[in-house]
């Protein structure tokens, strides 16, 4: 395993975060120090400068920095907050497993179990392997910090068989912790699937609501570095191809992380040019034709998507059901495929439990891109549900408003009747008011 650090010359720091977009706090041509806050958002996390340099440009999406040649990584220039979750937010902690979900949202509540997810099971991602080869202690330290701060009694390291010996040797440091090595299974790294294997727990909704925190090794490493050394999350490990990994600043242009891009440009190799870049794993990742963006917190792996990994053309489903026994969620993928455009049937078949792990893809003799279809179906369903929920709310609010207007009209009639029964002076006032209203109306 080769882990190297890349010294960037320019950084393209994206401001889009999981659900928010950070608001820039620097201006173009300003000189910035390493660890200076560049942007922030009250619901998101702050963005720090990974290196010192000069701001080249600022837009709503991206801050571009020309990096000083001799600059290096430095602790964040902020005063740490006392409150745990606020301090987590301050350190720009987001899940490094691939979703980049803000940790201070995920770690709310009163968890009883911390599960350290070292299951890394989707080729060609190998960030965890890289991390354990350079800083094996750090994730454990992060786990200790988290467990202590939140008062978590039970800590479980869920490690795949390759990693188990590494953790076994470190267990004496944390004697009360458990080491759990589930049977290797496609999609076991998904939060819900892992918790089922661990405790038989069935999750409906986020794990944190049922008292579980599932944390990626990289996230815990980032937490430990923030707590003990003051480094905010400005760098991450990104695996490149099958055997390489970089400790790279967020915002590093992706071509800098792909050594053979240079060769491709030099040799004008047509085949090399036609390759697409895959960001993420073979199943959950996305293909990107736009190579010249900066590295983001959710980018765990970069690889070339060439002919050897391209899927074969899909043939019709013969309902052979080879996909059913391999589904970690116990679904019937071929039925989901059959009903992929009928949302009611999909819900009845349990599409909500599908983690799109792609175990079904791997056994399908017809090479049907099932996981991709389910991902699309889930997205459509999500949109449909939000529209339905909105319509339902609008319906209720409309009914309430109409009831209120009817009630008010009735009350007005009642009041007028009471007035009529009252003395002459009241009548005179009412008459004057009515006359005035009439004048105003005309």
């Amino acid at each position: 395993m080769l882990v190297t650090t890349r010294q960037p010359t320019q950084l393209h720091i994206a401001l889009q975060q999981y659900a928010t977009r950070a608001l820039p706090q620097v201006q173009a041509h300003q000189h910035i120090a390493s660890g200076q806050c560049l942007a922030d958002h009250p619901n998101g996390v702050p963005v720090y400068a990974p290196r010192a340099g000069r701001v080249r440009s600022v837009s709503a999406q991206c801050i571009t920095i020309d990096v000083d040649t001799d600059s290096h990584e430095a602790p964040a220039l902020v005063e740490p907050h006392d409150h745990f979750l606020e301090r987590v937010r301050q350190g720009a902690m987001v899940g490094l497993g691939g979703a980049a979900f803000p940790a201070h949202h995920k770690w709310r509540g009163t968890p009883h179990t911390l599960v350290i997810n070292a299951m890394e099971c989707e080729a060609p991602i190998h960030c965890d392997r890289a991390l354990l080869s350079i800083r094996p202690d750090s994730p454990l330290r992060g786990g200790e910090i988290l467990a202590e701060a939140l008062g978590i009694a039970r800590c479980v390291i869920a490690a795949k068989a390759d990693f188990a010996p590494i953790f076994q040797s470190m267990l004496p440091r944390v004697p009360s912790w458990e080491l759990f090595t589930p049977a290797p299974h496609r999609g076991i790294g998904a939060e819900r699937t892992l918790l089922r294997a661990l405790d038989g727990a069935t999750l409906h909704g986020p794990a944190s609501e049922q008292g579980y925190i599932v944390a990626n090794l990289g996230t815990l490493d980032a937490l430990a570095r923030w707590w003990d050394h003051g480094f905010a999350l400005t760098h991450r490990l990104v695996s490149v191809g099958n055997e390489q990994a970089y400790w790279a600043a967020l915002g590093t242009p992706l071509p800098d992380l792909l050594p053979d891009t240079q060769d491709a440009q030099n040799t004008e190799n047509a085949a090399a040019h036609s390759r697409t870049l895959r960001v993420g794993g073979l199943l959950s990742g996305t293909l990107s034709t736009e190579h010249h963006r900066g590295l983001q917190a959710q980018d765990n792996s970069l690889s070339w998507d060439d002919a050897s990994t391209a899927p074969l053309p899909a043939e019709p489903c013969i309902r052979c059901a080879r996909c059913a026994p391999v589904c970690p969620e116990g679904l019937l993928p071929q039925q989901l495929h059959w009903y992929q455009h009928q949302s009611e049937a999909l819900v009845a078949l349990g599409i909500d439990a599908c983690t799109t792990c792609g175990a079904c893809d791997s056994v399908c003799p017809s090479h049907i891109p099932l996981a991709a279809q389910f991902m699309r179906a889930k997205k459509t369903l999500r949109t449909q549900r939000s529209i339905d929920a909105m319509a339902e709310r609008a319906q209720a609010r409309f009914a309430v408003r109409n009831a209120r207007q009817t009630r008010r009209a009735e009350q007005a009639v009642e009041r007028r009747a009471q007035h009529r029964q009252g003395d002459k002076r009241q009548d005179a006032i009412a008459a004057a008011l009515a006359k005035r209203r009439q004048r105003k109306a005309s």
Binding site: I318, C320, A324, P365, S366
Partner: protein, 287 residues
């Protein structure tokens, strides 16, 4: 593993039993299977062309397999003269299987009923005369004799072990080992047939013994090669057991009380119609 590999594996798995049968009955066994397969592929090509679909899927092997299994299931009818010459029969079978049951329902994966078995049942109902010929291949002759006996027209048939059932089972087991078929379907059919046959034998003097049921007709062949057709069988575990149980029980019931000697094809078509319901229930149990 591709679609074509899967289909060809099933054909390969039938070869030992078919070879044994050709040793006994001559080349007609393999000729019938091959011709049916070729006819089915031809009908598939025509139907795809007619539907304006890509002809690519002619070569996925599914039509050939369907014809091959139809050929294995049909009785050997060579000696009969026009208009019941076998070619005519085979062509009708191919038209019904591929044209009517498979392509009209939307092609591979979309058919509700097993094409080969619907074609078999269609031929049996439409052309009873040639179909009732001495059915040496699937051994329905003994079943026919037992029917005759039930009707008081023939003596009690005496027969026992037929080695071909071992060869069929070996082929099926090989497919299971390769992960191509679900053993639950096959074992479900056989277990249910034996169970129902035992009950029937306990209460009826004239009934075949469970052992005779196993050795006669298309029961073992069908359990391994027809009931396990993934397109028309259910896919959840409990539904597979239920499907097997229905097929096995219906086969014995039709053999014991029906107007036709062999009931396997009817049992399959009957159970095919219940598959969506079974799958729905099967899923509910799992959830």
């Amino acid at each position: 593993m591709t679609l074509r590999n899967t289909m060809l594996s099933v054909v390969a798995a039938t070869l030992p039993a078919l070879a044994w049968l050709s040793l006994q009955h001559g080349w007609i066994v393999l000729i019938q299977c091959l011709t049916c397969a070729l006819l089915c592929v031809a009908v598939e090509a025509l139907a795809l062309r007619w539907r304006g679909r890509s002809l690519q899927s002619v070569f996925d092997g599914s039509a050939a397999l369907c014809g091959w299994l139809l050929g294995a299931a049909l009785p050997l009818t060579l000696p009969i003269a026009w208009p019941w010459s076998p070619l005519w029969l085979w062509l009708t079978g191919a038209l019904v299987a591929i044209g009517l049951v498979k392509q009209l329902y939307g092609g591979l994966g979309h058919n509700v009923f097993n094409p080969a078995m619907v074609a078999y049942a269609f031929l049996l109902l439409a052309f009873p005369q040639p179909m009732a010929q001495a059915d040496a291949l699937s051994g329905a002759s003994v079943l026919d004799l037992s029917l005759q006996h039930r009707l008081g027209a023939a003596p009690w048939p005496e027969f026992g072990f037929d080695p071909v059932i071992v060869l069929w089972s070996l082929g099926g087991a090989w497919l299971w080992w390769r992960g191509i078929l679900s053993w639950r379907l096959a074992v479900g059919v056989l277990a249910s047939a034996l169970l129902v046959a035992t009950v029937v034998a306990l209460f009826s003097e004239q009934a075949l013994s469970p052992w005779q049921h196993l050795n006669a007709g298309a029961l073992v062949f069908g359990a391994w090669f027809i009931a396990t057709d993934p397109v028309t069988a259910p896919s959840s575990r409990s539904a597979q057991w239920a499907f097997g149980a229905i097929v096995g029980a219906m086969t014995v019931v039709i053999r014991s009380w029906g107007a036709y000697p062999e009931g396997f094809a009817f049992a399959i078509v009957f159970a095919n119609a219940m598959v969506p319901l079974l799958d729905r229930w099967g899923l509910r149990w799992r959830a």
